[in-house]
Symmetry: C2
Subunit: 148 residues, 2 copies
DNA sequence: TCAAGATTTAGAATTATTCTAAATAGACGG
DNA sequence: CCGTCTATTTAGAATAATTCTAAATCTTGA
């Protein structure tokens, strides 16, 4: 699953994946996606809006939400909800989990996931599992150092 | 860790745990906690408010938020954030994960046989892990049946 | 009994997200 | 190219979720 390198360059992917979901590739969707890939710090919709405005000053907040929803729907972006604050967005579609610093709120990709089997999870009859989300909570290196 | 049965009855626990965090046991906190234990369907703050009002008509929304925060802080309640909607609350402090039905939004407790901490996540140097949260997404039995 | 501090409360304020309706863009058939 | 059709974008209003504020109330413990 990991050994065969048939993955097309991610940019083509965007076009195709949108099409596959009956969605068009628009400058705005492209821009929002680029913003996410540029700095993979899991920004909120609001932060995406501010960053996208630099290259595309006319873009609106509603469009950013629309684009993010489109990108999530077609599987190019993941939604990350970690606390009561705004939802964050992640363009890394590799299997990974998120480390959330309870102190400063920063989010890190952790390239390791727990399979349900490893976690000892057994679903009762009838449930249909689609995907698993693992969120690690604690202190980031900076905050851990300060805490000492 | 699991074998020694020194756990006091959960109601005493509430008093003690609050005290341990420098918080008082108040009728409102008790009521909010009771509401959560009565129907463990992971209600939102709003739903907790409505249910609590039945026995305690003067309780306010602000108090419900305050109480929920207090209960979370002292470790009697878990916060569950699953999508862009309102945060949900869970009074089950056993090690378990949550199944979220993407179709109808219902949430189920899924018991784990192995603590995820033991499942072998390896963090880069410097990170201090406090706890792991596992969210399962898919279809609940009802929705899975309808989907066929 | 009193002072200090914690908690509750109503309502205002803020933040996050969704909705609405009109304008625009772009694909497609002719 | 032209006109039509539909998807998308847009501004702003509306709604939903949460937090804040300041005053009232309660509790605790000198
Ligand atoms: Mn990520
Ligand atoms: Mn639960
Ligand atoms: Zn941090
Ligand atoms: Zn369902």
């Amino acid at each position: 699953m990991n050994a065969v390198a048939t993955k097309p360059p991610p940019e083509n992917d965007l076009n195709e994946r949108l099409a596959h979901s009956g969605l068009r590739l628009t400058p705005q969707r492209q821009q929002v996606h680029e913003v996410l890939r540029e700095k993979m710090d899991h920004p909120t919709a609001d932060q995406v809006f501010l960053r996208a405005k630099n290259k595309m000053p006319e873009i609106s907040m509603a469009t950013v939400y629309n684009c993010l929803d489109a990108l999530v729907k077609c599987g190019m972006v993941r939604q990350v909800t970690l606390d009561r604050g705004a939802t964050r967005f992640c363009p890394n579609m590799q299997d990974h989990s998120h480390f959330y610093c309870d102190e400063c709120g920063s989010v890190y990709d952790i390239l390791q996931t727990i399979s349900p089997a490893d976690a000892g999870i057994r679903l009762p009859r009838g449930f249909r599992l689609k995907n698993i989300e693992t969120n690690l909570h604690g202190l980031c290196p900076d905050c851990a150092a300060k805490a000492k």
